[in-house]
Amino acid sequence: MRQHRFPGGAHRALAATGAAVLLAATLAACGSSGGSSDDAAAAKGDCASGATTTLNVLRAEGNVPSDAQLDAYKELNSCVDFKVTEVPFGEYSTKLNVALSSSNAPDIIGVDSPASANVASQGALFALDDYLPKGYSDDVDAADLASATYEDKVYSLAVQQVAVALFFNQDLTDAAGITVPTELDEAWTWDEAKEAMVACQAKAGTGVEGLAASLFEVTVSNTTFRDQLFLRSAGDSSASKSSSAYKTFAALSEDGTSVDGYINSPEAVKAATFYQGLFTGDEAVTSTTQIPNEFASGKACFDLTVAPLVGPFDKLPFKAGVSPSPYFVTPIVHNGAVNIAVAAKSKHTKLAATAAVAMASGDLLTEWANANNAIPPTQSSIDDSTVLTDPGNKMMLDELQKWGQPRPVTPKYGQYDSYLATALQSIAQGSDPKEALDQAVEQIDPLLKG
């Protein structure tokens, strides 16, 4: 009869080691799938009493995901807590680039919608498709969805829509005898708008500009949000795709490898020359130097900006109105705002994704948008929205629905934006428009092709 021997000392050590390795492998497998089974339970609100998972949130100052959104989600799911790190907006993209690649990456972040493809192409964002509610892609604004998508996967979620519109000080325009259109189909061309700005500035006298200086800085992807519209609106979206006019509107080749002939086309150069005339010359109506609250303090007749930066009209010390954004040939506004996304290196991707989707859709989205006077990006939330009584919001939504276009969608958007913004700033300060735009092409094209 064979006797079975119990394992000796060496065998016991080997068995213990094997068990430890097996346990470690199991834990690693759970970790690599984006969180333990505790996360899955926590995502459903099923956690041991008092036990919470803390998600790290990185956002720009005053941006989403806001404290209100995070608190609203915590009320729904007590298994989750948030630890927020805020960074000044001008430094946010730099901080984000470094944080996303670190071993201690945040879980939930805010990311500018046109930068989503850029960040996702580097493998730094977590795809959210599996967590989206049914029908989301039909419910959300198409341009917002396009901005947030990379290689057919959704990597960030819009929570609001903004677009520039032309706000005006009606006290000043009335005094100058100017009637400003307030309906989309009566929108001014830029020639008409400039004529009005010059007249209003002349009537208002010293210290008042025709057009408020842009509050969109060149260091972040905001200058092109407003000022690239000058170039693109000089194009023609209905023209033949091989035509210069169509390329001007597109601002980027279809295959995403070139901007030559797109941002420096004859139409774009002509528009840039007009743009320069707003800042320089005898009929200059604005400047490159930002003045805080310039429009709100009555120091400018017009302001080409977004409604949240103007605020409620009843808080302004003058009678205000809003007009559609002027154009040259084709009316256009850029969509996009700061979206919510999940870092690929998050240790709790499932939980973070569940939280992000909850904040960007359904009741949480509607409640936040109503409370913050923001236009939600989904039609279902717009239907339940109370913000459209604000004339600025109504105008932005009308513009977005009829004229809204995403900024050029490319993984190299950060670089595209930086070079083009620099060119626009140089043009505003007096550089030759063709030279500045050609230089931007020389700098952008190699990056797109690379």
């Binding site: 730094a124 007096g430 700098q443």
Partner: protein, 308 residues
């Protein structure tokens, strides 16, 4: 008779010095070690990493996907128009700083070395900008020189047109040169003052006895004897100029049209906004070599062969 050589204790000065050095080595190493360790961790290791990174093409978002490109980044640095422009602008900036700082600091030092009134207060006033943060100085000058700033508003009250201090190329570069020179002249004048006070009075008296007037005394005695201080200040101002970053970042974003695109700002923009940290590392290495070369040239040109 066989001769023998008996080992003796070292009696020559050289031998004594060598023996002393060896016995002092351990305590010296002990005192120097903490500093050397910090230098190694915060200076030389990052420098080595910088050199390594300059050979790769990668993004901050995904450094694991770095691609070895050899010296391509350096070739790019020497052929990229914007980078070459930034070096040219930086050289102009440094030259401008030297042209302004050296004579002004010298004049202030001569004044402070004299027995003229209010020297103490002037010394404090002159040195105050040196210890003020660059960000504070830059913000203050932005307030002064902006299109709607204090100076243009003052000009407006006299009926004059606004001056494009920060929005036209030559004006913008001149403005940041003057601002930076204002901040650094205090340090240079204090160093010149120390040099002036180290000159032996006998040398000046001997020159006066020989009939030297004030002009000759200053240009033929004082100035040559200050050449070491001058060398130090020239090198310091040059290095400061090559490292300048706050003015383009906070005032001009490198514009208008690259007129104030200093090299360090170009490096920052290339790494963090254009997401090309490998290329930025290569530019940094080129800047380092450039700075060393300029310093060597300056030291050679201003070297002295005498002692007093």
């Amino acid at each position: 008779m066989a001769s023998t050589t008996i080992a003796t204790r070292p009696t020559t000065t050289r031998a004594l010095r060598g023996r002393l050095r060896r016995s002092d080595l351990l305590p010296a190493a002990g005192f120097l070690a903490p500093f050397l360790l910090l230098l190694l961790i915060f200076q030389y290791i990052p420098l080595a990493l910088l050199a390594r990174n300059s050979l790769y093409d990668y993004t901050l978002l995904n450094p694991d996907a770095a691609e070895f490109v050899g010296f391509d980044n350096f070739v790019h640095a020497f052929t990229d128009k914007q980078t070459l422009q930034s070096f040219g602008v930086t050289l102009l900036f440094v030259a401008g700083m030297l042209i302004v700082v050296i004579p002004v600091a010298m004049a202030l030092a001569v004044y402070l070395d004299g027995r003229l009134p209010a020297r103490g207060i002037v010394r404090v006033m002159v040195f105050l900008p040196v210890i003020t943060s660059s960000v504070v100085v830059t913000t203050m000058f932005l307030f002064l020189l902006g299109q709607n700033g204090v100076l243009n508003n003052l000009l407006g009250t006299t009926g004059s047109a606004a001056v494009p201090f920060l929005t036209k190329g030559p004006w913008a570069l001149a403005s940041i040169i003057l601002m930076s020179a204002w901040q650094q002249v205090g340090l240079a004048s204090v160093l010149f003052l120390a040099g002036l006070q180290a000159i032996p009075e006998e040398v000046r008296e001997a020159a006066k006895v020989d009939g030297a007037g004030s002009f000759a005394l200053f240009f033929r005695i004082t100035l040559p004897l200050l050449s070491r201080s001058t060398l130090l200040i020239v090198v310091l101002v040059t290095v400061f100029g090559l490292q300048a970053f706050a003015p383009p970042l906070l005032m001009t974003n490198g514009g208008p049209d690259g007129a104030t695109n200093l090299v360090v700002y170009d490096i920052y923009r290339t790494a963090f906004q254009l997401q090309q940290p490998g290329f930025a590392s290569a530019i940094s290495i080129v800047l380092l070599a450039f700075a060393v070369l300029i310093s060597l040239v300056q030291m050679r040109a201003l070297r002295t062969d005498w002692q007093y």
